[in-house]
């Protein structure tokens, strides 16, 4: 992810893409993104935010209302899907029910007029790639969900597309299979070197699999970045809220300078954070992540509160703390150490230690 990578021609570029549907729904509102060659790029956002629509525009099933889409620097909006060197793994798999697995995988190659012998070779290669040797003669409905998923992948990858689009391909699988396929997908992407554009509403899936993530909400792209970037430096309240666990507290900016920002909670308590671009008096939403905070006893330094609930998770324990003065409620997560119970319980008075770097504020409006 060096500077050099960013400067080459994007595999896919969307420029100010707008898509509105008859009836008034605006599915995409001036979306601009660059997807780099060979990267695992994820569109992440809640249901209805426009992920599928963006994918369908790239595939060519829909036309943008305005804006441009480029593939390797060439405009493609005017091309029908069958003229775009892009393939799709559909959410429903959409395997042709009247064809065998082998015929499904061969379909795209046949349509491109590739020679029979080469098709046979590629089909065998693909079956090996997705570990389905021997399934060539089966019909799609004689396969399990996970196997159908692999066939759909093989059918798309057989064409060696420049870009592979995957619309929530794992959402229909059960948890164990999903974890397995996450790993498989990542392996396939690395092995083939094909640019993957992956759609999911599952933030954990996005964080673990992606080179970069675009977080979407209500038809807009809010932030694009590496998983770590998105997690640690969310630029919008929505992004902070959607990814990982976050608690918000209403606060006012008491003072702000190059050294840092001092916030005042509604209870009058102060919290210090790193420098951010705020004017004194601004009303903000202060965000914290449970795993960045620590608990101390009532005599300690930090925000005072009372433990509301204790939730045991095996590897760690989450404490829900109601802050004094009705300033709000935040969670603190502590690692569990074998054989050593935590010294706090429900109803205990505690203080929360909040490192400056764990504090981040957003202008107080949603989105």
């Amino acid at each position: 992810m060096g500077e050099g990578v960013g400067s080459c021609i994007p595999a896919i570029e969307a420029r100010s893409v707008v898509k509105s549907f008859p009836g008034g729904a605006v599915a995409l509102d001036h979306v601009s993104i660059d997807i780099r060659p060979n990267e695992f790029f994820t569109l992440l956002g809640p249901s209805g935010c426009g992920k599928t629509t963006l994918l369908r525009l790239i595939a060519g099933f829909e036309q943008p209302t305005a804006g441009e889409i480029y593939l390797d620097g060439e405009r493609i909006e005017h091309l029908p899907p069958f003229r775009r060197p892009i393939n799709t793994v559909f959410q429903s798999y959409a395997l042709f029910p009247h064809m065998t697995v082998g015929q499904n995988i061969a379909f795209g190659l046949e349509m491109q007029g590739i020679a029979k012998a080469e098709i046979a070779r590629r089909v065998a290669e693909m079956l090996a790639l997705v570990k389905l040797e021997g399934f060539e003669g089966r019909k799609a409905d004689q396969m399990s969900g996970g196997q159908q998923q692999r066939v759909a992948l093989a059918r798309a990858l057989a064409n060696k597309p420049k870009v592979l689009l995957l619309d929530e391909p794992l959402s229909a699988l059960d948890l164990k299979l999903r974890k397995e396929m996450q790993f498989e997908l990542k392996r396939l992407q690395t092995e083939t070197g094909i640019t993957f554009v992956f759609v999911t509403h599952d933030q954990e899936e996005a964080l673990t699999m992606s080179d970069r993530i675009a977080v979407m909400s209500a038809g807009r792209v809010l932030q694009v970045g590496a998983p770590r970037d998105i997690y640690e430096n969310p630029e919008h309240r929505f992004v902070a809220d959607f990814i990982g666990e976050t608690d918000f507290l209403d606060a006012m900016v008491e003072a702000s300078d190059d050294a840092g920002v001092r916030y005042r909670l509604s209870s009058g308590a102060f919290i210090d954070g790193p420098p951010q671009d705020f004017n004194a008096g601004a009303s903000v939403a202060l965000s914290t992540r449970p795993e960045r905070l620590h608990l101390g006893d009532a005599a300690g330094d930090g925000l005072a509160g009372t433990i509301d609930a204790v939730v045991y998770f095996g590897t760690d324990t989450t404490f829900h703390v109601a802050l004094d003065g009705g300033a709000g409620s935040i969670r603190v997560r502590e690692q569990n150490i074998a054989g050593k119970p935590f010294p706090f319980d429900r109803g205990d008075r505690v203080t929360i230690q909040m490192p400056r770097a764990a504090v981040r504020a957003f202008r107080d409006f949603k989105g």
Binding site: P22, A59, G60, F61, P80, P81, F82, I86, N87, T88, F90, S92, A94, L95, F96, P97, H98, F107, G108, M111, Q112, R155, A156, N159
Partner: protein
């Protein structure tokens, strides 16, 4: 099944029984009489296949059967093709008046047949068409279209658009998508539509009676004409044969429909 409240009404069973008796008893009697060795339609005189032999030896009947077959086949092929094109053309179309178009296609199902018959006859005469087998075929193609259209449309509506998108995604142009994906998946609907069109054509009396010229009699017309000489075992035999053909077609169409669910 058994918790159907209708079952608890007194007389439901009797009514159902009466319904089936009225509907099917005449058909059963007709079939039985076609094997009656006497000419009487009331007296059983013994079992015979003779009437079927008589039917197959009668040149008038054979000519009528041949006409029925020609009309049925041609109008089935043409109406099914037109219905398929209409279904695909109207699929996912969203334009003003689309409902109107759909209604117009299905209209022949509700217009009284006698009205269509008279109107078609007047139309043919006014444009100077000579009545004959050609006019019968023309009329049959038209009234068979809605029968072929409905199962095809139902099948198409049940087919996820993702299959066609997947084909396009895999480099198939519109024609290849139609040939390799849409049509094979639509096929059971097309077959069901064709079967319906065929038996509708085979069975039609009113319109055919109006627009058939001399020498263009189909089986129903022949049967009607021969009734003037009274109900003969011969007529029973032809009717039984037509019944067998119809049942065969409906069963095959239902079987194809079920198998491809």
């Amino acid at each position: 099944m058994s918790d159907n409240p209708l079952r608890r009404f007194p007389g439901t069973g009797t009514a159902a029984l009466a319904f089936f008796v009225f509907l099917y008893a005449p058909v059963v009697v007709l079939i039985a009489l076609s094997f009656n060795s006497g000419r009487s339609s009331t007296l059983w005189e013994g079992f015979t296949f003779d009437w079927y032999g008589v039917v197959l030896d009668n040149p008038d009947i054979l000519r009528a059967a041949k006409n029925s077959l020609i009309v049925g086949t041609i109008s089935t092929v043409l109406s099914t093709m037109l219905a398929t094109l209409a279904a695909i053309g109207l699929d996912r179309a969203r334009f003003r008046g689309m409902n109107a178009v759909n209604s117009v296609i299905a209209l022949p199902l509700v217009v009284p047949e006698i009205v269509t018959a008279v109107a078609t006859l007047i139309f043919f005469l006014s444009i100077g068409l000579k009545l004959g087998l050609g006019t019968v075929i023309l009329a049959h193609v038209v009234f068979c279209i809605p029968f072929a259209y409905l199962p095809i449309k139902a099948r198409l509506e049940g087919m996820p658009i993702a299959y066609r998108e997947a084909a396009a995604d895999l480099y198939a142009n519109e024609w290849q998508t139609f040939r390799r994906v849409t049509l094979p998946l639509l096929w059971p609907g097309v077959i069901a539509g064709a079967m319906l069109a065929f038996i509708t054509s085979l069975d039609d009396f009113v319109i055919t009676y109006f627009v058939a010229g001399p020498g263009a009699s189909t089986l129903p017309i022949y049967i009607f004409a021969s009734l003037r000489m009274g109900v003969t075992p011969e007529v029973n035999a032809i009717s039984s044969l037509m019944l067998v053909v119809s049942i065969l077609f409906v069963s095959v169409s239902a079987w194809i429909g079920r198998r491809s669910k």
